[in-house]
């Protein structure tokens, strides 16, 4: 089954649309009467999107959703997704793929904040940049993302992989401030540079192939180690937090 949703122009283009219903299972089970919200107004899906559905699906994994048009203010697409595929041709709004447990989301453009928040499984691949809190957790919750993979081919904002507790986050560009802060488990890989990586980490592993600026002063330098042909400095920490995390860094600079 192929579902094509093209975003229509709106009179108030900045007001966000909340569309957590847009995920493969909804269409697999029959999306008649599906609504989305513009602020406090509940609207039929068709008011916001031109909808085309072709073919049948024998399982949720056979549903592919294609999002076209300006979807930069459409929030919560793919929330609780548990199979199938979503392809977003442009940018996507906040909370794409929250709580996702299986399936695949591909974003050709940029993703706004909280991409894959509290993700449990499946894969998200963002070809552009991701906003703040990519692969992060919920306010006050000890454990954030617990499984699956978030891969960002551009840069990520601040607090990427905050409270990471499982799964893999890969940032091919740079990650902003405090990437991997309070992470507990899982693997964070940053190909570019970042700031204050893995502050207060208590577990898990982080690789930074570029430079860590303002390196946190409470990591114990364990020595040089070669991983995958690259030479890293290995740190244990965060000592401020009886941490048992591991941080592999190519270059680092303290704020002294």
């Amino acid at each position: 089954m192929k579902v094509t949703l093209e975003v229509k122009p709106r009179r108030k283009p900045y007001l966000p649309i909340e569309a957590e219903g847009i995920m493969p299972r909804t269409f697999f089970e029959g999306a008649d009467g599906l609504t989305v919200y513009r602020g406090n107004k509940e609207l039929a899906l068709e008011e916001i999107f031109s909808v085309a559905i072709e073919g049948e699906a024998a399982s949720v994994d056979e549903v592919a959703i294609e999002i076209l048009g300006d979807s930069s203010r459409i929030k919560r697409i793919g929330e609780y997704m548990d199979g199938g595929r979503i392809h977003i041709a442009g940018d996507i709004g906040m909370h794409c793929g929250n709580f996702m447990s299986a399936g695949e989301i591909v974003i050709d453009g940029n993703a706004d904040a909280w991409l894959g928040r509290e993700m449990r499984g499946g894969a998200i691949r963002c070809h552009g940049n991701a906003g703040d809190y990519c692969g992060a957790g919920y306010r006050g919750e000890k454990r954030g993302m617990r499984g699956g993979t978030v891969e960002v081919l551009g840069d990520a904002g601040d607090f990427a992989a905050e409270t990471l507790a499982g799964g893999t986050v890969i940032i091919h560009g740079n990650a902003g401030d405090l990437a991997g802060v309070d992470m507990k488990d899982g693997v964070l890989t940053i190909m570019g540079e970042t700031w204050r990586a893995c502050a207060n980490m208590s577990g898990g592993t982080c690789y930074v192939h570029g430079t860590v600026h303002d390196m946190i002063p409470t990591f114990r330098n364990v020595g040089r180690e070669t991983v995958g042909g690259e030479v890293f400095t290995r740190f244990a920490g965060d000592i401020a937090n009886r941490g048992k995390g591991t941080l592999f860094i190519r270059n680092y600079k303290y704020m002294d």
């Binding site: 919920y138 306010r139 006050g140 919750e141 000890k142």
Partner: protein, 566 residues
């Protein structure tokens, strides 16, 4: 004039010795009456179980500490959200719901009166503000005196009349209901990061012991002629081996009142541990209950623990810090100058954990080993042992040996070597449950005379009709039916009108705040006591003039004026 007639009710009303009688209940203008006219609104109870509205004698639902539990827990808030609907406001939260959430959920379970377990006098205004937004229960507040400086100074000087005078002034000033002692002396020691280790361990600087505080306060309570007794959270909560402290405390209690107990010991489950460490902790419920069974002057509540996530919150600051060191989870603490402390941490009681399993068993044992159900009230120290929405499951566990066995089979396998629960065959009756959830708490709080906890003529028309026929239901073999019935009434009636029907609250509601005002002779009044006033303005950061809770905060209220022997 509004009239209501409940027909065909199967009534259990222990205070009036009614047990399962099919009868009609007549209500006029919010009170139970002998009969009503033919124009009365009629509710058909269909022979279902009908009892006085539930009375909660120890819960944490309003005030600074509770609100901080909400404030620090957005993850708990999102675990229980409902939208605005009809007369119901939006609600959030599971273990520490918003005030509306708490009120609606208690109401759906048939509860119409509740005592907030701990109010710091300095922050009383906050508790009263939240009472106004807990519309479907009449509310009252235990007032904390465990670390009160002027009280400890007066005890040290041996001036017990002055103790009573200070307590009386404070209760009336903050519109409190009863004296609460939480880890007496310990919360003051916690001002230095310390605790007291037994009831004979003196409080730093003040040189009084917890035992002296407890005894003096029991004496003061009776001098003030208060409706409730001293309400005590014993020292050493949650520590292996603490049952000895609890027994020693019980031995302090005189039989000082002819109509009710002289001490209400709260959440005794947390105070009934044997052993010397977390490795050899065990149940001492038998020793505790032996003491209770021989001392009619003491009433306790269970402090039952149920498995799952919850939030612990208590004025017992040092205890919460110990829990924090155990769990390494988030920890809040809030000491209150000259008065008390408090702490909050989230916990998850796991059936895979031996200590948690032992705790679960002890609470049930206390209820099953107490001969007289009037002496053991059903409560979880909400939300410390479990959120109150677990009460129906607790009722089913107490009424069904079979259900207990089923759950017992799922807990940590080491539990049975450390607790006597498996050997207890007692199954509580419908009447026992009615006593433990409304009649006994109303009696213990001293509220029977103001019309709570019973359905006699003149009583408040607070009534709960549960969808269960007790003549055809065998609770020992139908625990799920019992749980379903107690989880949601068909009708909860408050002050003579239906406030909740099958889980849907049907009115905005307006509760009554019940508070006490002891009449104290002028020569014992703290109003113009020079020493009291001087120290007040010197050491508090709020002027004495700004300390009392103003009338504006009371809305509808019932003031119980007492004649103090002062």
């Amino acid at each position: 004039m509004t009239e209501l007639l409940i027909r065909n009710a199967c009534v259990i009303d222990p205070i009036n010795d009614i047990c399962g009688e099919i009868m009609d209940i007549a209500v006029r203008d919010g009170k139970i009456v002998e009969s009503v006219g033919s124009g009365a609104e009629v509710i058909d109870a269909n022979g279902n179980l009908t009892m006085p509205g539930g009375v909660e004698s120890h819960t944490h639902i309003c005030g600074t500490k509770v609100n901080f539990g909400r404030y620090m827990s957005p993850e708990d808030m999102r675990a229980g959200r409902t939208a605005r609907r009809g007369h119901m406001h939006a609600t959030s939260g599971y273990s520490v719901p918003t005030t509306y959430g708490t009120s609606y959920r208690y109401s759906a379970m048939g509860y119409t009166t509740a005592l907030e377990g701990a109010m710091a006098p300095l922050e009383a205004r906050h508790t009263h503000e939240e009472f106004a937004y807990t519309p479907l229960q009449d509310m009252m507040a235990n007032t904390l005196f465990d670390g009160n400086w002027p009280v400890m100074q007066a005890i040290h000087e041996g001036d017990h009349k002055r103790v009573a005078a200070i307590v009386g002034w404070t209760l009336a000033a903050v519109k409190g209901f009863a004296i609460k002692l939480t880890n007496p002396g310990g919360t003051e020691a916690w001002g230095w990061g310390k605790d007291v280790s037994s009831i004979r361990d003196p409080v730093p600087h003040f040189e009084v012991t917890p035992a002296e505080i407890i005894s003096a306060m029991i004496e003061a309570n009776e001098m003030l002629n208060l409706p409730h007794s001293v309400h005590l959270h014993c020292n050493c909560l949650g520590k292996p081996g603490n049952y000895e402290t609890t027994l020693e405390t019980f031995d302090l209690v005189p039989n000082a009142h002819d109509k009710r107990q002289s001490l209400y010991a709260t959440h005794v489950q947390f105070h009934a541990y044997g052993g010397s460490s977390w490795r050899d902790i065990c149940s001492r419920s038998e020793e505790i209950c032996r003491s209770i069974n021989s001392k009619p002057q003491i009433v306790m509540d269970m402090g039952q623990v149920m498995f799952g996530k919850t939030t612990t919150m208590t004025a017992d600051g040092p205890m919460e810090f110990n829990l924090y060191r155990l769990y390494h989870n988030k920890w809040s603490n809030h000491d209150v100058e000259l008065e008390t402390g408090s702490g909050i941490i989230p916990v998850h009681y796991s059936r895979k954990n031996l200590v948690n399993s032992i705790m679960w068993a002890i609470g049930l044992e206390l209820a099953l080993l107490t001969d007289n159900p009037w002496q053991c009230i059903l409560a979880t120290d909400n939300p410390n042992g479990a959120p109150f929405v677990k009460y129906p499951e607790i009722i089913a566990l107490l009424m069904s040996k079979r259900y207990r066995n089923e759950v017992f089979a799922t807990v940590h396998p080491g539990t049975e070597h450390n607790v006597p629960l498996a050997a207890l065959d007692r199954e509580l009756t419908w009447n026992d449950i009615a006593i433990m959830t409304r009649a006994a708490p109303a009696k213990a709080l001293g509220l029977v005379d103001v019309g709570k906890g019973h359905l006699g003529e003149g009583a408040d028309a607070d009534i709960a009709i549960y969808p269960i026929d007790i003549t055809t239901t065998d609770p020992a073999n139908a625990p799920q039916d019992v749980i379903r019935a107690f989880a949601q009434t068909d009708y909860t009636i408050k002050r003579g009108r239906v406030v909740c029907c099958r889980g849907t609250c049907t009115v905005d509601g307006e509760n009554t705040t019940i508070w006490v005002k002891p009449q104290i002779s002028e020569n014992h009044s703290m109003e113009d006591d020079p020493e009291f006033n001087l120290n007040f303005d010197r050491y508090y950061t709020v002027r004495k003039r700004n300390y009392p809770v103003q009338e504006e905060y009371l809305h509808r209220n019932l003031c119980i004026e007492t004649e103090a022997k002062l």
